[in-house]
């Protein structure tokens, strides 16, 4: 339900073909430098910062997986942390080499296995969810998340009991910065898949479904197949994030995914996807990084202002409050989220015409329309 009225696409100011000169690309390249500095130079400053940056990369992957599911298929998910956990559990168990570093091949197998098992779990959930209409899907994913967490992650032969399953990195990725570059490469894969989905026939089909299922199926779009594909791709991305998570924390511990820890992860994922602006890659990645870095940022701030003790005692609550305020202001005042704010910039960078008052086509549409998400 994009509030845009397109009468004649050919005369639409925002969509006329543009040509960017060599100098224009050069300027764009220079303007990109601060962004690159933020991604590559800043995390290299200290080991702790690199560590935090890897966490942000993991969140960015989860954000993209939410983007595919919620942004493109219009299905809400409150159980995304389960796929993260399944990916982490599988990767850690497949690679399980005790205290020795695995060889790169085993490591790769572990990551891929995490992706596949997660995608399989998503296919199962998707097959069930497709039969359930409207808002009830939110409940099913919520219950799926908490039940997987409590049923699978607590199996003692899989979670390594209290010690957790060790997940040591291969020697070439031992250092935090090397691992960070690896995580960024994984994010790049997710971005590529997201772009491919958005641009291909599949993506157009999904968005048509999201906006009006009946009309889309009348045009010959395979409703079940496309929705299932959306679920599987989203689950696979979250599984990839889970694999990276396992090797980031160098262990799988069920405590990170069960009960209240899992539940608050699920809520953070929804909050960051909405605040980022569903359907917008740049917005979702930015919001995901923000929520991943909220703790180190606030800790640093509290440290300098002398509130450190108070902050440490109330950490979870302060983060809740920040997330809630951002979420509420997004849904009430700024439905396009961060993506809508960033949109002129991303369009300028990619050499497309832009308008500072452009409502955007995809931004906000995910939460603005779609019969499939209406009760």
């Amino acid at each position: 339900m994009a509030a845009q009225t397109e009468v004649l696409a050919g005369f639409d100011h925002a969509h006329r073909p543009a040509r960017v000169s060599m100098r224009g690309w050069l300027i764009r390249g220079l303007a990109l430098l601060p962004v690159l500095a933020l991604v590559f130079v800043l995390p290299a400053q200290s080991d702790d910062w690199t560590n935090d940056a890897i966490y942000a990369a993991i969140f960015a992957m989860v954000g993209l997986s939410m983007n595919v599911l919620v942004g493109y298929t219009g299905q809400i998910s409150l159980g995304q942390q389960a796929f993260l956990g399944i990916g982490a559990l599988t990767a850690a168990n497949v690679v399980n080499t005790g205290t020795n570093a695995p060889d790169p091949f085993t490591f790769a197998i572990g990551i891929v296995a995490g992706v596949l098992v997660s995608a399989g779990a998503a296919a199962v959930l998707g097959a069930i969810a497709l039969r359930i209409r409207g808002l009830y899907l939110a409940l099913v994913t919520l219950v799926f998340g908490s039940v997987t967490a409590d049923a699978i992650f607590t199996i003692s032969s899989l979670n390594g009991q209290d010690a957790g399953v060790p997940a040591y990195r291969p020697t070439s990725l031992q250092g935090n910065f090397a691992f960070y570059v690896f995580a960024l490469a994984m994010v790049a894969i997710c971005i590529y898949v997201d772009v491919w989905i958005r641009r291909s026939k599949v993506g157009r089909g999904l968005i048509a479904l999201r906006d009006n299922e009946l009309v889309a199926s009348a045009f010959g779009i395979n409703v079940l197949g496309y929705k299932l594909l959306g679920f599987v791709v989203s689950g696979a991305m979250a599984g990839l994030a889970g694999g990276v998570y396992a090797f980031w924390s160098q262990e799988f511990s069920d405590k990170n995914f069960t009960s209240s820890a899992g539940f608050s992860l699920a809520l953070i994922f929804v909050v960051m996807a909405v605040v980022g602006g569903l359907g917008s890659r740049a917005g979702v990645i930015a919001a995901a990084s923000f929520f991943a870095l909220i703790d180190p940022l606030f800790t640093g701030f509290a440290h300098h202002t002398g509130w450190l003790n108070w902050y440490t005692d109330h950490k979870a609550y302060i983060q809740n409050l920040v997330g809630a305020v951002l979420l509420l202001q997004t849904v009430i005042f700024n439905p396009g989220g961060l993506g809508q704010v960033l949109r002129p910039f991303t369009r300028w960078f990619s050499g497309k015409p832009f308008s500072l008052h452009d409502a955007g086509d995809a931004a906000g549409a995910a939460l603005g329309g779609g019969d499939s998400v209406r009760a």
Partner: protein
Amino acid sequence: MHVVADTFSPQLHLVTPLISGLADGAAYGLFGLGLVLLYKSNRIFNFAQGEFATVAAIVAFLFDRGVGWVPKVPYFIAITFGVLAAVLVAMATERLVIRPLFHRPRVVLVVATVGVALFLVGVEGLLPYPQTASLRTISDALGVRSYLTQVDGVVVLDQDVAKLIVLAVLAVLAFLFFRYTHTGTAILAVSQDATAARVVGISVERVSMATWAIAGFLGGVAGVLLAVPPSGSVTPGAFTGLTLVVAFSAAVLGGMTSLPGAFVGGILIGLINAFANADHSFVPGLNSLPTSQAEVAVALVLLLVLLVRPRGLLGREA
């Protein structure tokens, strides 16, 4: 009392789970009532319902104990204040969050209630009060013994009986409210077609406010009844994390559109939960089940209901 028996014992395998199931079921039902009310009227799932309860429990606790500058008042006045606070929070939610989003898709409203829940948890967590404490029980406040009777060595608590009675009374009252009062009918009319309701002279805004006030009242009553020992507390987010998901399952089982259904669904889910969690060691091969069997059982029930009979046991079309 947790004796491992390899033969069937009625006390261990029937009476204990029956009583704890009824008590838990009453809790799920109390939350379910509020969830059903808002689903019936606004067609949304209210994820903030658990925090309405927590707000009531905290305010009641502050007044009952006299924490900080809050004056100490008699128990029953304190719990009235608690319920009032929940009503006020619910009305504020309606005015500030729900009404601006009234014409947006329902999923946006659901996400917004998640935001309200997070917000309330955050605010509660920053208040300086003993967060792991719990409210006094009614019998404690009245100074009578805390249990009604003992069956087979299993204690029936006063508070649990009170929960069941309050739940039943509220379910019947709410049912009558929707069936026989003008306001109740108006709420249903708005839920079916807001524009048409406005045309026949119903104030959509006032009806929406009334609905949320009632939902806050139901949540508040649940809060002051449930935040008591042995298992309840006034911890921020406790109801949202532990009770709300199961309460949703209960409401779906009963039929999201049926208020007596919330009662029936709550009790049934409570019993399923309790019997799934009970000691199964007298059945060979079942004693090695993982500890989370109750959650799995509840999830399976929810899935089964949604796949086979989406309108639930007592609901109209879902």
